[in-house]
């Protein structure tokens, strides 16, 4: 192997290994929003994970404190006036169920809610395939996400997608509006991120595009079930009975390109 060949191979291997993990434009916007807002510029910024940890710790303290008070009240002065023993809050792992799968990818900086309307949790959402289009190896469609709750909620940005392949949950090679032939067919204008407010019973749509033709060295795989994590993270909504063959594309294996959540379907509306 010559030096040039080694260098070329290294370049190819690095792209193959790293590109599927790189976040898209939405991450860039989150970085800017987090770093450039006044609290970040001039004050102490709490990172997304630390913030979540503080929130978890707060829950532990509150629950622990409440249990402690409760125990103390139940026991009266049985401890001879000594403080009640601190309760140890158990670490509760997410539970698995067929319809709601714990694939939390918390969005590092969730957008603020609109006038108190909370982001849609997976528990109130149901998913179905709204429409499908495409030919010659490139396929596309819309996934409809329905608010089955009793109050309005919001969705903003990109969902994350896992597939169930051979019984295993696999992160798909999700790209964000990478400009494939179908999603980029709207007069060259790619879909943009907008805040979508979903009233009870209303749908929002995630347009997607994938290739079922082998492309490059990565093998294709088929999935019957998609796990859709809402943009703000948390659990995922299951969409079963949706056969998809996913091949490589845009430097990603198991490539699937998605548009941001939209209030209108992309396919079947004359835009594609």
């Amino acid at each position: 192997m010559s030096d040039d060949h080694i260098e070329d191979t290294l370049r190819a291997r690095l792209h193959e290994a790293i590109d599927p993990r790189v976040q898209g434009h939405a991450a860039e916007e989150r970085v800017l929003a987090a770093a450039m807002r006044p609290a970040g510029r001039f004050g102490f910024r709490v990172g997304p994970r630390i913030g979540a940890a503080i929130a978890a710790a707060t829950v532990v303290l509150v629950v622990g404190g409440a249990l402690g008070v409760s125990l103390a009240l139940r026991r009266g002065t049985s401890n001879n006036g000594h403080p009640a023993p601190a309760a140890t809050a158990p670490v509760i792992a997410p539970s698995f169920s067929p319809s709601v799968f714990p694939t939390a990818t918390p969005s590092p900086t969730p957008s603020p809610s609109l006038e108190g309307i909370q982001p849609c949790a997976a528990g109130v959402l149901t998913a179905r395939l709204h429409d499908q289009d495409g030919a010659a190896g490139t396929l596309g469609g819309d996934i409809a996400l329905r608010n089955g709750g009793r109050v309005a909620c919001t969705l903003e940005g990109y969902v994350n997608l896992h597939g169930v392949i051979d019984g295993r949950v696999v992160q798909l090679g999700v790209t964000h509006s990478a400009g494939g032939p179908l999603l980029n067919n709207n007069n060259g204008t790619l879909p943009t991120v907008r805040l979508v407010t979903l009233q009870p019973g209303q749908n929002a749509y995630v347009a997607f595009e994938n290739s079922d033709v082998p492309n490059g060295p990565t093998p294709c795989a088929s999935t019957q079930t998609l796990l859709i994590t809402p943009p703000q993270g948390g659990r995922a909504v299951s969409l079963a009975g949706m056969p998809l063959t996913l091949c490589g594309g845009f430097h990603a294996s198991l490539w699937i390109d998605i548009a941001p959540v939209s209030s209108t379907p992309y396919y079947g509306t004359g835009t594609a």
Partner: protein, 172 residues
């Protein structure tokens, strides 16, 4: 007066944001290559952007923003360690690591492991040179070392990875 100060700050902020925005894509790629985990990478770039904003006055006039900012990102990646709080949250993370590795080809898994084993400075030089395709001058500027040191680090990294690459080529 307050309005004037606010307006001035807003203008400076927008100007800095406009300079920074085109670099975020390459910064995320660098951080992902260094951390090999997408949430860690985004955290690192966020912190780096914040540091860059705070240190923007330290940048010499005329200095190219790209290597200056990428150097901050690289330092942030080195300093980022999984703290106790982060490990508390690990159980809630998606099965991304294992699943992504399972989805990768054997070659990319090998190179990821080999990269992890490299010392930070060598890994940074390899990533800058062969993943971001920077010139040796830019590798040196971003790494904060001389041109000769940059060449030496790239060479050492290539030597260290060569065995892995040859083995993966032979398999395929």
């Amino acid at each position: 007066m307050t309005a004037t100060i606010d307006q001035h700050l807003d203008e400076r902020s927008m100007s800095f944001e406009a300079e920074l925005r085109p670099l975020l894509g390459v910064a995320l790629r660098l951080a992902t290559a260094m951390r090999l985990e997408r949430n860690d990478a985004e955290d690192a770039v966020q912190e780096a952007a914040l540091r860059a904003w705070r240190r923007r006055q330290n940048r010499r006039p005329g200095t190219n923003l790209r290597p200056w900012f990428l150097a901050i990102v690289a330092n942030q990646c080195r300093e980022t360690r999984r703290a106790r709080w982060a490990s508390v949250l690990r159980f809630a993370d998606p099965p991304e690591g294992a699943a992504a590795l399972a989805a990768d080809s054997a070659g990319s898994v090998d190179i990821s492991r080999a990269l992890r084993r490299l010392p930070h400075d060598i890994r940074l030089a390899v990533v800058l040179r062969f993943y971001l395709d920077l010139s040796f001058e830019e590798v040196a500027a971003t790494s904060g070392c001389s041109l000769e040191a940059a060449r030496s680090r790239v060479r050492r990294g290539l030597t260290a990875l060569a065995a892995t690459l040859i083995a993966s080529e032979e398999r395929s």
